[in-house]
């Protein structure tokens, strides 16, 4: 892993006004910032936090979908779901590696996740009680993730931007796969349609919350926009998502659970868009702060995997050391 040499490296900078202005000028010229480049501490910290959260979301995100692997209703769906959950793990690995280029280790980040210090996307604190949820997660959750992540392919930090190109390609496949599950349900029996509608009812609002608080209440947004880590505001992306998704729900014959949803031809500078009802921000903050249905269970599952696997990781290290010692001894003989 090329990032290893950077872990613990002294990335300290003397942040004079001249230094900051020069850095901002590079950003404004759309130059990519690379691991060995000097960067303001705030830039580094923002990226470590964001990439770490993103990686954790991929890893925790394996759990709600993993819940259905052994119970998938057909072998084709089972294979696709396995591949999908495996992709999420791969994204996690990719992103941890990108974060490592900023001087933190995967172990540090994992410990922060397990101790509750680091956050992950709140959407994964909702349960998946039915098979339809596997379709809905692909369609809405991966759909919202793509909306958030496409602009990240142009993020100013090189390793993150490059990682996101591949991640977005796979997410786009997942989104279509999820939608296809729902097409099967909506073309199926009455029970299947009900299962799909019930799932949309539960996931619609949490998916809209994935874009984060209103712009006015988003604490990190302004500086991130200036550094070109972030390219669009939370509300802009949320609106884009709603406008793209409502016709997809109509095609499925499902009802979006928002009585105030209404086409507004004036919106988006005259291009038209949907007006929507208010989001329940109390629920949003409750889940962010740990009070969602699955917050405790998700971390418990991750902690169990980590603790139960400790002896395996220790054995792998011990074995590697034994081999290295034997090689040195053989060379000396």
């Amino acid at each position: 892993m090329y990032s290893q040499g950077l872990i613990g490296a002294d990335g300290k900078t003397e942040e004079t006004e001249e230094f900051l202005a020069k850095f901002q000028a590079r950003i404004d010229r759309e130059e990519k910032i690379e691991p060995n480049d000097a960067m303001p501490e705030g830039y580094r910290k923002t990226l470590v936090r964001q990439i770490g959260q993103h990686a954790h979301s991929e890893i925790v995100g394996m759990l709600p979908e993993g819940n259905w692997i052994t119970r998938a209703p057909s072998l084709r769906r089972k294979a696709a779901l396995l591949a999908k959950v495996q992709d999420e793990g791969g994204h996690g690995l990719y992103l941890y590696s990108a974060a490592e280029t900023l001087g933190v280790t995967r172990e540090q980040m994992t410990e922060e996740l397990l101790s509750g210090k680091a956050k992950y996307s709140s959407i994964f604190n909702y349960p998946t009680p039915t098979w339809a949820d596997i379709g809905t997660i692909g369609w809405l959750v991966d759909g919202a993730a793509i909306m958030n992540q496409i602009p990240l392919c142009r993020c100013s930090y090189g390793p993150y931007a490059r990682a996101m190109i591949r991640v977005c390609k796979e997410e786009s496949f997942h989104q279509r796969q999820g939608y296809e599950i729902l097409i099967s349900l909506c073309n199926g029996t009455e029970e299947q349609k009900q299962m799909a509608q019930d799932s949309l009812n539960r996931w619609w609002w949490p998916s809209l919350m994935m874009f984060g608080p209103h712009d006015a209440e988003s604490s990190h947004s302004e500086q991130s926009m200036k550094w070109k880590i972030k390219r669009f505001s939370n509300d802009e992306l949320r609106q884009k998502f709603i406008d793209a998704t409502v016709p997809q729900a109509e095609y499925l014959g499902l009802t979006v659970p928002d009585p105030e949803l209404k086409w507004n031809p004036e919106k988006n500078g005259g291009k038209g868009g949907y007006d929507h009802g208010p989001l329940d921000w109390d629920e949003f903050w409750r889940v962010v702060k740990g009070g969602g249905r699955m917050n405790v269970d998700r971390i418990k599952a991750r902690k169990k995997a980590w603790d139960d696997g400790a002896w395996v990781r220790e054995a792998a290290l011990a074995h590697a050391e034994k081999r290295a010692t034997r090689r040195t001894q053989q060379a000396a003989e």
Partner: protein, 250 residues
């Protein structure tokens, strides 16, 4: 239709489905992230092979049963997998050893099946032989690491060997259907894999500092549907949707 070949293909397909199911139970719960990627990969290989085998078995049967009807809609006594593959995961040592035992058998089996008199079997073998070579490597390397790692890992690895070794013998047994399929050269003779299996596993055990136990009482019965208590629970998971919502498309 060839009833013995149909039944012999089901034995193989069930082995792959059930072991694939067990490996897939790890997804999201592995000891390290790299294994969260590797284990679904192996599960995908196993389930992929099962799909090809069920589909072909269904074609031979000629009664319109597809891969899902064969995989999901039989009773417990009708599953013909060997007992080894249905054993619970227990810990990572058991899981990797089970995979090694199975792959060490399937590799020479698929190699022999490359010369089958049956074209479809040759095709499935051609794909599977490459995958299973990788499973031997992956699981074998872990057995070595754990066997020759720490004191705890060595103990756990040897405990897995003691627990799973009684289930090895069944892999070499020939049911009357498997025998009939071997007589027409459609599928290989299972007994003929014994030497290569022993070579592969002994090689790993030497490096892993593990002892191959003598088994006085081998555990048999899977091929005739005499499964363990845990098989019903596995099937409750596997069959849940098909049983709860019958006759629907997914």
């Amino acid at each position: 239709m060839s009833a013995p070949l149909f039944n012999a293909l089901l034995e193989l397909a069930d082995d792959h489905l059930i072991l694939g199911h067990r490996v897939s139970e790890w997804c999201g719960h592995a000891p390290l992230l790299e294994e969260d990627l590797a284990m679904p990969n192996m599960a995908l290989d196993m389930i992929g092979a099962a799909r090809s085998l069920y589909t072909y078995a269904g074609e031979l049967e000629g009664e319109g049963r597809d891969e899902d009807q064969l995989a999901y809609l039989r009773y417990d006594r009708d599953y013909k997998n060997c007992l080894l593959v249905e054993r619970p995961n227990e810990d990572f040592a058991h899981t990797m050893l089970k995979q090694l035992y199975f792959a060490a058998f399937m590799h020479p089996y698929w190699e022999a099946a490359l010369h089958s008199s049956d074209e479809t079997v040759r095709g499935i073998a051609g794909k599977s032989v490459k995958e299973v070579a990788y499973h031997i490597r992956h699981a074998g390397e872990w057995v070595v690491r754990l066997g020759d790692g720490t004191e705890e890992s060595a103990q756990r690895m040897q405990a897995a060997v003691e627990a799973l070794h009684p289930y090895v013998e069944e892999q070499f047994h020939m049911s009357s259907d498997a025998q009939a399929a071997a007589d027409t050269d459609a599928l290989p003779d299972r007994e003929a894999m014994r030497t290569q299996w022993t070579n592969t596993v002994s090689n790993v055990f030497d490096q892993a500092k593990l002892t191959m136990p003598e088994v006085e009482y081998p555990q048999l019965g899977g091929r005739t549907g005499h499964h363990g208590e845990e098989m019903g629970h596995l099937l409750s998971d596997l069959q849940y949707m098909q049983r709860a919502y019958p006759n629907m498309s997914w």
